[in-house]
Structure formats: C-alpha cells, structure tokens
C-alpha cells in the first residue's frame, strides 16, 4: 500500500516572531540619522569633514567591535584582552617597519602573525577554561590583558613611538570639500576588511563550519566538524581584525603609539558591540560607525563635551543600552535557561 505524500505546511517558527515594532524603530532612527548627516554635510564643509572623520574613527571601533563579537559568538567570552592583542600586533608591525620592511608588506605580514597568535592564545589560555564558570573566564581574559599590555611595555618600553601612516598626508577633494586621505583610507580599509570576512563566512566551507560551530557545536561535531579548532580559528580572525583596528588607530594623528593605546578604543568597541547586540557583526559595524560619528560631532559642536568626557559619554551610552535593550539593536533577546 503506498501512502500518499502528505502536504507539508510551513508554520512560522517562533524565531521569526521578532518584535517587529523595535526593528522598524531602529531602522527609522538610523535612516533619520543618515539624513541628518547628509543635510548637515551639504550645508557645511566643516560638518562634512567632521562626519567623515567620525566615520573613520568609527571604522576603527567597528573593526575591534567585530573582533569582540566573533569571539563572543564562538566562545561566549567577553574578551577584555582584545585591545591589548591589537596593541601588541601594532607594535609588531612597527618593529617590522623599523627593520626595514615597507608599509604594506609589513601590514600583511602582521595580519598573518596576528592570525597565528590568536589561534595560539585560544589553545593555550582559553581552551582549558572552556567549561569553567563565567567568573574564571573573565579573570583569565583580564589576566591576558594585563600580561599582554605588560609585555608591550616590557619589550618596547612605554616610550611613545611614531607609527608611519599608510596614506600620504594629502587632502582629497570631493564635492568641493577637502577631506584627509587618511580618514577616507581608513574607512576604505575597514569596510574592505569587514566585507572580506563576511564573504569568507558566507561562501566558504570553513566559514560555514565556523558559523555552525558557534551556534550548534554538538550537531557540528556529528557531521565531522572539528569544533574546537573552529573556535580557535575564530580567535585567529578576531586577532586579525584587532590588528587592522590597531594599525589604523596608530596611524591616526590623535592616537599615539603607546602601550595603553587601545584602552579607550576598547571601551568604544564594547559600546559598539553592545549597541549592535553582542552576537551580530553587522550590528557591531553599524554601532561602531554610529558611535564614531556621534562622539566626533558632539566633541566639535557641543561645548561642555571635552575630550576627557568622551569616554564617560560612551559609558553612559553603553549603560543605557544594557538597561533598555540588552540584546542590542540587532540582537535577539536571550532566554535564561533554568
């Protein structure tokens, strides 16, 4: 007796029942922001310059933020040492240049070294505490922060160094306004890096395996994925993004090459990651750019916002988000398992 093939319906799974309201509000808000920036830039050259400059800083925060998100998605670790790793790799780049290697080869070589270093770090320090309590993991990540930042000071001393820029100091003219090539270049490199990474995750087999390992490690193992190595790769890529962020930061005029260089950037990156929802790379990018532009415009136009108050401002922002919508703009609310 043949059984007639049943028609299979497609009920909407709860995953799709996102609060449609908040998504729309977020999109509207972002759109309004873009319109505001466009209008302002059209009316004032200074505004346009500050916006672009803010986007450049935002790009630096975004790169580091995506690194944080990668690691959080893969290993559920908030990596406090991400900034220190970025600093270390930037110093390595500096050292390579001191030894005579020219800028872009040194840049690429540093990325490769960062990749290997990130993997090694995960294997040595994080894997052993994979199943330990949140507290232990946080402390380990802080231990790494102290050790790595300390190592930078130890190897290269805390004397301020000068990092050459990738881009010649040379204004670029768009629509009658002159922008710094540095800023535009930074935005370009950041977007390039993020897009490359996205493509890797979307189109390659290993990228797919990494995505699967992050959300369903047990099922991934059953199809033969070496999950634990996928997590290590996540750390490797995160280190690469951190290196990009660090090298761009060091090249910018407002940041000096010193051991504590990325401390502030780390906070902005965290704020960006939290804003986007700790598990969404796209959200981290949008968050980073938004924070960069907002802080820069605030500093230029609002009187009492001095450079020292920027960090507390970012803190207040992060606090606000964590209180109102901890899953961030793009994240999904997490259910606490009993």
């Amino acid at each position: 007796m043949t059984v007639a093939k049943p028609t299979l319906e497609i009920p909407r799974s709860p995953l799709h029942r996102l609060p449609g309201g908040s998504q729309v509000i977020v999109a509207a808000f972002l759109l309004a922001g873009c319109v505001f920036l466009a209008i302002g830039s059209a009316r004032s050259a200074l505004f346009a310059q500050e916006t672009v400059s803010g986007l450049a800083s935002g790009g630096i925060y975004a790169s580091l933020a995506v690194a944080l998100v990668l690691i959080y998605r893969a290993t559920e670790v908030v990596n406090f040492s991400q900034g220190a790793i970025a600093t270390f790799t930037t110093y390595v780049a500096w050292q390579l240049m001191q030894w005579g290697i020219s800028y872009w080869p040194a840049f690429v070589l540093t990325l490769a070294l960062a990749f290997v270093g990130g993997i090694a770090l995960e294997r040595v320090a994080i894997r052993p505490v994979e199943r330990a309590s949140q507290l232990t993991v946080v402390i380990v990540s802080i231990g790494l922060l102290i050790a790595i930042e300390g190592a930078v000071g130890w190897i290269w001393s805390s004397q301020i160094r000068f990092m050459p820029s990738a881009f010649p100091i040379h204004p670029i003219h768009l629509g009658g306004v002159s922008f710094s090539l540095e800023d535009v270049g930074t935005i370009g490199v950041t977007i390039g890096a993020v897009v490359l990474l996205w493509a890797f995750f979307r189109f390659t087999k290993i990228g797919l395996a990494m995505r699967a390992s992050a959300t369903h490690p047990d099922a991934a193992r059953l199809v033969g994925v070496r999950v634990s190595w996928m997590l290590a790769l996540g750390w490797g890529f995160a280190a690469v993004l951190g290196a990009v962020s660090g090298m761009l930061a060091a090249a910018s005029p407002s940041v000096l090459l010193q051991p504590s260089m990325m401390d502030g950037v780390l906070i902005y990156a965290f704020a960006a990651a939290v804003l986007g929802g700790l598990e969404s790379p796209a959200g981290a990018v949008v968050g980073g750019l938004a924070i960069g532009v907002t802080l820069n415009l605030l500093a230029s136009y609002v009187g009492f916002v001095t450079p020292q108050l920027l960090l507390p401002a970012a803190f207040v922002l992060m606090l606000g988000i964590l209180l109102i919508k901890p899953s961030g703009l793009f994240g999904r609310p997490k259910v606490r398992k009993v």
């Binding site: 505490v129 330990a132 949140q134 507290l135 102290i146």
Partner: protein, 318 residues
Amino acid sequence: MRAASRLLVIAATAAVIAWLPLQLSDYNRMQGASVAVYFIAILGLDILTGYAGQISIGNGAFMAIGGYTTAILTVHHGWTDVTTIPLAALAGFACGVVVGLPALRLSGAYLALLTFAVALAVPQIALNYSGFTGGNQGLPLPAHSGLWLYAVSWAASAILLVLAWLVLRGRTGRAFRAVRDSEIAAAASGVSLSIHKALAFGISAAYAAVAGSLLVLVNSFINPQMFGLTLSLYILIGAAVGGLGSLWGVLVGAIFVQLLPSGLQSTQVFHAAESVPVIFGVFLVVVMLVFPGGATQVLRIAGGVTRRVTRRRAAPEV
C-alpha cells in the same frame, strides 16, 4: 579548622601585625600601610564577587571616590583627614548602590563589561573637573609618619574585617551566597535579588572608598592616575590569587599584590618595574587554570594532605 585553632591563628596573625612595625623602618611601615589599603579594597571585592557572585572590575573607581572625598574635604574645606573617612565610606556606599542598580538586569560578562567601563571612565571625569580635583597635577595632603599610617590603616582593617565577618555569617551573608549560587533559586526562596545585589555593591564600594581615603593619606597626594584601570585590575588579582569567597585569601592577596612588585624591584631581576604586569598577568592566568580557588584552595589541599598524614601516623590501621 576547629574554632579554637582558628582563633589561635587569628590571634597569632594579629600579634604579628601589631609587632611588625616596631621592627621596620619608616619606609617599610608605609609599605605595611599600603598592604592594609589593598587588604580593605580586596575585602570589599571579595564580599561582592566571592560571596555575592557579582563580577566587578571597577573597584578602583570607588577608591577614587573615597580618595577624592577625603582630599577635597581636607584641602578645600579644612577637615581633619581621618574624620573624612566615614563620609568617604558613605559616598562610596551611595555610588556603589547606584552602579549596582544596572546589576539587577545584567549578569556575568555584561556586568564585568560595565564595571570595566566605570573603572576607565571615573578617572577621566576626575581629570575633567580639575577645578575641584586639581586635575592632572593633583592635590597635596598633610603628611604623616609611617607608624601613624600603619596604625590607622591596620586599625581600620581590623574593624572592617570584623564587620565583614559579622555580616557574612548572618542572614545577609547567607542571602549573598544564595544569590551567587543560583539567582533563580534564591528568588524562588524569597530572597530579594534587588536589595541584596544593591547592598553587596554598596558595601563593596564603601570598603573601596575607605581604602581610597587611606591610599591618599599614605601617599599624601592625590591625582587621577593613581586610580587608573591598573588599580582595579590589581585588586581583582589580589582577590583571585588569594581565593574568592574566603576571608583568609584576602590577606594573602593583599601581601602578594603589594609586595611582589617591590620585591622584584629589589632583586633587580628582569628589568623589574616593567616586567611586573607580565608576571602578574601570566600568574593570574596560570592560577585560574590550575587553582581557580586561589591560595585558599592550595592551603585547603595542603591542610587536607597534612591532616591525612598525621592521622595515619597517629592511628595505624590494624
């Protein structure tokens, strides 16, 4: 450990601490006072993280609050420095409760993140409002002899330790531990999460504030750099290395954090000053990997081993 032997060890330790300054130079007495400062700060963190299970990496910021309360009252308003300490504690408590409010909705990594940001943000605020705080140049404070500082800071430590012990062994302490072990179970048993989390943050911050006041007195100086991220991290190191959730560990942690750097410096090994963070960091990671319970865990294991050995010697099996 039995109550009697425990009391004996405490008395002995107290005796050693009281006797020590008589044997030390003035400089070393100040070092001793610094150990007390860390002791109090680490004790505060231990209450919050070890007993109530709330991760906080921002206690340096509360030390800043205590320190600046003392400094501003002493320098700008002519108070006697010691009398500012209770007020500093109060200020710390209030700020701690305020920071603790978000803790109601956050946990684990998010909370650590928030407190990390606090640790970085507060010195920046101090730097900014330099009218009050003396900004980067800081404010000078009346100096005191090493002996005075030692006595005052250890007296404060003793008082705060006893207070902590009383709180922790009572209902509040049990409530803290319930919150740490399982929030859901605690809430289901009628323990108010909001009150206890806020309380834990408040107490911890009050302790940190007192430590901050004393730090400022020991250095007879204050500036924002003293309260940077490093300070918060070192308090955490002291608490973790000593062993979270144990009052004994606090002393071990304080000694470790204060004396290791100076010890290294005097031995001239590894370019001293600059290698300290690396050693601390690596040590911290290794400790967490091998003995997450810190020195207390090591001592407990050692204690267990010696007890087994002595028992076997005393009563041979037939």
